[in-house]
Point group: C2
């Protein structure tokens, strides 16, 4: 058995980012940038006003001084002339500071009478002026490659004058459920059979991780049916299998795919739920074989498939984000396998999070897994912890998983 | 001036969820459920094995007892006969327990010789058996309406045999940037002009919040250009405007839309950045008018537009999620306006988060806003806090905003 961390490291070491494409700025949100965004202009392009008011020579801006308003410079309509002694130009937030002016009096600090303003608050040179390039200068890298683009990044790329961005393709992940007992929702269910849930949950998780799922038809428990998947992998960045449990977890999936050239990397991970795991390669395509139990499949997907999706998308492939929370119930000492306890979260009035594990942790109970708001991480051989102790958790709902 | 909380409450009180539609299960991830999901079957459908092993009469399962294996029941292929005294049936995880059997011996605890097995660990009745309905029973509500569907929920809906789900439409949000100085990325920039960033950042934020953005052409600073937007609102669930700052924040937008029937609800909010805000209604369409400064627009969008998107999507419209973090630098006492400080986050070895505000908090600096990982919340008239004190933050990157 190997540890969760070693398994994740081995998987990530074997993955390469998906190739790149150019997409419209409007389609770039949540994609991973493959080439840095370099500012194509300087922002602000010139010294501009940070307030609504009047531009003047700061030397003219003494208390009670009166100046003549010789024009206006709305944003986008710079004043063409020059501000001379005793003169002022009306301007607004974002207006270019006219030539000759080095001070701003804000509109609340003047009284205006026709074309004359009287200063009611002494002016300081440079105050309320945003200097050219204060935000960024042409040629500067404003967004580094390898970042998943937020809404703010999209705005920044726009401000830097980029209508197109170069990003990694969304990784295309094929999902194969196997088992004679499996029916698709709404289709006839065989005697003793169940409805497929893993492939749909995993497809949604692939979307949550920024990938494109490709759900393959359910394969019967035969070497022929399973091995036929090897002919469906053109253009696929990763194959994820679940189940094959009807003749011992994964044995049939492994034999069938080995016959088509699967090189298997490892088998068992020191974790609960989800001990059995395949990782290998079928030709060029990495293969991740998840357990068939729905809870085990989902926990393994969170721990291994999400980081793999990150790596395939062009990110480093960090583990799922964790937080500290207080335990809402005592937890016993752990054995040699890492434990991922399904738990609810609540927030105390002081803002602290409390994570309370469900009493039942059976790996077939999908309903409890769906109701969980977090996984509590228990390291191998972790000591018992009392209620109220700090524990590391993976919050689930915020990731859409 | 009104508080952030009052403004948000007023906005939410005026919004109704978007109408409903039926979507394929595969398209339901991240949508908000509009009708409860009721289990159409019982899961597991019968008593099933939790392990690979043999079914037998528990009374026969004493240490060293030898039993005859009379058949096998792979998952999906229930054993048709009955287990009698001295008999056993091979089964696997998920296999239906055959009639007559009330115990399981796991495969590691037997030795097998041809059709005979010898028990190496005494069997307890009911152990390793998952009872019919342990996960859920037909007719039970397994997912309540009003929930944003996670990957786990999609799996649960599949397991409950639902190929289709009833969800709220994604709210369609029209975005209007105004200003003579504004150019779209890649298009000619007027003298003293800048490239539009707000509408692109907001469109991405609408996507992050589960909506569909509709970016309207930039409107020039004229009553005619702005008021023409009123003719483009068929099928739109909300109109968001930004800017109009060239003749005083929003004045032109308000006058232009008032001429078309805009009823304005309020104007100024006790917050920084982002004091000026419009909320009102143009016919049936709610209108949210954001400030023109990119940072102010984004902070207001996080505080008001994201909850509004939640409400329009069918959720309650909770404020953006917050966490506790330690301050990486002292912060001064606050005045009468709530402050939302742009900050970086780092994690200490003990798992605690540290939020450090940027020294510069100018509301025109989009690059710093994009580099921020959190907003530090400072209530009106909050006292000064030293480095290391606890503060409430809104983490940004995890929301895709």
């Amino acid at each position: 058995m190997i540890s969760v961390e070693e398994a994740r490291a081995r998987i990530l070491a074997d993955l390469r980012p998906a190739s790149i494409e150019t997409v419209a700025l409007a389609a770039a949100w949540n994609r991973v940038l493959a080439a840095p965004v370099t500012a194509r202009l300087t922002q602000p392009p010139a010294d501009v006003s940070a307030m609504d008011g009047y531009a003047l020579r700061a030397a003219d801006g003494a208390m009670q001084a009166t100046l003549e308003v010789i024009g206006a410079a709305p944003a986008g309509h710079p004043f063409a002339g020059r501000v001379g002694p005793g003169q002022a130009v009306r301007l607004f937030t974002g207006s270019v500071i006219p030539a000759g002016a080095d001070g701003i009096v804000i509109q609340e600090d003047v009284t205006r009478d026709g074309d004359l303003i009287t200063i009611r608050e002494a002016v300081t040179a440079g105050r309320h002026i945003r200097r050219a390039g204060q935000d960024f200068a042409a040629g500067e890298v404003v967004i580094a490659a390898g970042r998943r683009l937020t809404a703010r990044d999209v705005g920044l790329a726009a401000a830097a004058n980029h209508p197109w961005l170069t990003v990694h393709r969304r990784p295309r992940v094929a999902i194969l459920a196997t088992g004679d007992e499996i029916a698709m929702p709404g289709e006839p269910i065989p005697a003793g059979g169940i409805v497929s849930s893993n492939s749909h949950a995993l497809a949604a998780l692939v979307r949550a991780g920024g990938g494109e799922p490709v759900v393959l038809p359910v394969a019967a428990d035969t070497i022929e049916a399973i091995s036929a998947v090897a002919d469906q992998l053109a253009g696929i960045d990763m194959l994820v299998t679940t189940g094959g449990a009807s003749v011992g977890d994964h044995d049939l999936v492994i034999s069938a795919l080995q016959a088509r050239g699967l090189a298997v990397d490892f088998w068992k991970i020191a974790m609960r739920p989800g001990k059995p795991l395949i990782f290998g390669r079928l030709g060029d395509v990495p293969v991740l074989g998840l357990p068939g139990n729905p809870v085990s499949a989902l926990v393994c997907a969170i721990l291994f498939l999400l980081p793999a999706l990150g790596r395939l998308s062009g990110l480093p492939g960090d583990p799922p984000p964790t937080l500290l929370a207080r335990l809402g119930a005592a937890v016993p000492a752990n054995d040699g396998r890492a434990d991922f306890l399904r738990a609810t979260l609540r927030r105390l009035p002081d803002g602290a999070l409390v994570a309370t594990p469900f009493v039942r942790q059976d790996s077939s109970m999908l309903r409890l897994m769906a109701a969980s708001q977090a996984l509590i991480l228990r390291a191998p051989r972790a000591e018992a912890l009392p209620e109220g102790a700090d524990a590391v958790i993976i919050p689930l709902d915020s990731l859409g998983i």
